[in-house]
Amino acid sequence: MALDDARLDAWAGEVHAVLGENGAGKTTLLSALAGLVHPDQGTLRIDGREVRLTTPRRAWHEGIGMVHQHFALVDAMTVLDNLALGRRRGGGFRLDRPGLAREARELGLRVGLDVPLDAPVGSLGVGERQRVEILKVLLRDPSVLVLDEPTAVLAPAEVDGLLELIRRLALEGRAVLLVAHKLDEVLAVAHRVTVLRRGRTVLEAPREEVDEGILARAMVGAEPEPLARRPGPPSDRPPVVRLRGVRVGQRLRGVDLEVRAGEIVGIAGVEGNGQRELARVLAGRRDPHEGSVHGPDDPAFIPQDRRREGLVEGFSLTENLALGLHDDPTWRRGPWLRWSALRARTADVMDTFGIRAQGPRARASSLSGGNQQRLVVARELQGRPRLIVAENPTRGLDVAGAAFVHRTLLDRVAGDDPAAVVLLSTDLDEVLALADRVLVVVRGRLHPVPPERQTREGVGALMLSGGGVGP
């Protein structure tokens, strides 16, 4: 039940922003427009004509072009081949690469999208990939252009360029649908705003009639609690983890880092700059190719992809908690695990962490995203670890779930025996709100952010230093 009575009207020549919390149904609604999801009920009209978008092909034919949040590009192929894919202009046979290249260059020049046509997509940075994706869509000359959270992966300076482009594309007479969750971006570019909450349209209004407060209330149903933390004095405790000259291929190129007990170190950066490797080296989940790592034996790790890496979805809650305990002598009797004791403990943990599930025997796959994340956090924090590494820990969570994760991390750096926390996040606001110190990761190197520059603008500028993004 991702969508329940959602409405959306888009007008040619307008930028229409679709707002909503994570899980409000924005992506589902757009997927229905792209022919990827099929509504159980309801109608879709284009120019007054009712259409049924059963496949992505149909959506293309109806003039709907979608720029996906996780780009729908084939990494192993060149940019040009990606542009050609699925168009069938040669009837299946002739693949007219030179003709397409000419066309792409002309269009790129006209709208200001510069992409390297012969490079494999896999070698491009995130910003470039997005330009490829947009160009791919524009080449099909859609009358409706849909962009799913296009700014989420960009550095602040790139965002401005993109918003400018979006406005121009609407002025050319297209209907542009922009999905976003950053209010300021929406207010800067949209002509009209729709807010979704729990799969319903709760607000639709022209830009002039709304402000940040109205939109925020419409999204959450109430004024959101501002997430704020005053950074404490520099910790004088000894370092819990220390990296020296750490290298992992081309992804991490000489990283030094010390994290002390009682501090949250925030690591900001555009996705794909080495965070993945850094998180795993810090958490002791992989060895670097070069350099030294001194840290505690068993750091806690909250991975970004909880369904793949954080949990075994086919396992029960008890089994998932046991993943962290199966080597612990307390929970073993000879070769056997003490399952009944583990089940009792799971029931306790469900209480403590507010995990809503049918019981310790319920499968992890039956939990909501927020409850799955609570389960991961509960398991990782159960041994009072000295070091906690969290990688985009609130991605895809609703407000309550995100607040829970934030509170838990803050709890663990408070008190007499605090842990050290490393928070790697592509959400700049999250990093700024929680971290005592902020570092920016660009192309596999860490750059500390001086305290006076720990603002959106300051960090954003650093994220682009080194002349662009990408591996």
């Binding site: 496949t55 084939v74 192993a76 081949d81 894919l85």
Partner: protein
């Protein structure tokens, strides 16, 4: 010179034994490029062999046998494709079942038709078609160009499939489906349709390979005569790095490995017939061990799609 005669016979046998591998492997290249690994290829081959035998027997024409073999191979692949593409079942398990079904039911049909006594069947054979001029080339002429017509099908298919995969829009879509079916589907590619088609093409080619075994090779059918050629063909695809031209060469190389037993026996080496039988499998294993590290399979190969199942 006796040695020259041995060499010619060896080359001739290499091609004759390599062709069924090449046909099956070329088809498999196509389906793997679209993201489907078909362990059921062996089932298509044995079905093609029986289909070829029955077709040739019924009409007295080996040519009709080849067509019947293709149809039988395609029918087996249809079952595989329905399961794997439409029901989204596990490719390895489904392929294994399809191979077992192929081996089992061909034996059933053979036994109900010809009894269980094991009297050998004599079939019309595919006569060699010497290619004018080319067949007269010194040394390799007869070996390469005085072969059964199915041989030339393999020769022609390799460049044709290369062109299809790398120079046409269909090829682009097939490769995209094998690399990233989500991205391909979002771009408007009909991933499932493509995969069904490539699987069927692979099945039909494996069927022709089976018919070649029965009609060009031995002129008879025996239970289980595919003898793991489908599995070797899958390894040949790996060794040929999913490139039809290299796949053809790899298949001929393995044909040579199988032909070695005859050549060495002729030359008087007597190590034991069964050890020679094992040689191509061992060679395949060695080749996989030494070679595969540098080749990259299509990224979505053997993965269920759509990913969330149901």
């Amino acid at each position: 010179m006796a040695d020259a005669a041995v060499l010619t016979a060896f080359l001739e046998a290499s091609v004759r034994l390599g062709v069924p591998l090449a046909l099956a492997a070329l088809g498999e290249t196509l389906s793997e490029r679209s993201g489907v690994i078909n362990i059921g290829l062996e089932g298509s081959i044995i079905a093609g062999a029986l289909g070829g035998a029955l077709g040739a027997l019924a009409t007295g024409s080996a040519g009709v046998g080849v067509v019947a073999g293709a149809a039988a191979g395609l029918a087996v692949a249809l079952v595989f494709a329905l399961f794997v593409v439409l029901l989204n079942t596990d490719q390895i398990i489904t392929g294994t079942a399809v191979t077992l079904a192929g081996l089992g039911f061909t034996a059933v049909v053979y036994q109900s038709r010809f009894g269980t006594t094991g009297t050998a069947l004599t079939l019309p054979t595919l006569d060699p078609w010497p290619v004018p001029l080319l067949a007269d080339l010194p040394g390799v002429g007869t070996a390469l160009f005085a072969q059964a017509p199915t041989t030339y099908l393999a020769y022609l298919l390799a460049p044709l499939l290369w062109w299809l995969l790398f120079r046409t829009e269909w090829g682009l879509e097939i490769r995209a489906a094998g690399e990233d079916p989500d991205a391909a589907a979002a771009a408007g590619v009909r991933v499932r349709t493509l995969r069904v088609v490539t699987c069927l093409a692979a099945g039909a080619l494996a069927g022709v390979a089976g018919a070649h075994l029965a009609l060009a090779h031995t002129g008879t059918f025996s239970e289980g005569m595919s003898a793991g050629k489908g599995f070797i063909a899958i390894a040949v695809v790996v060794l040929g790095r999913w490139n039809p031209l290299l796949v053809l060469m790899a298949a001929l190389f393995f044909g040579a490995a199988s032909a070695l037993q005859f050549a060495l026996q002729t030359l008087g080496f007597d190590v034991g017939y069964q050890l020679f039988l094992a040689f191509p499998y061992v060679l395949t294993l060695l080749a996989l061990a030494g070679w595969v590290g540098r080749a990259r399979a299509p990224a979505a190969l053997a993965l269920p799609w759509p990913r969330d199942g149901a």
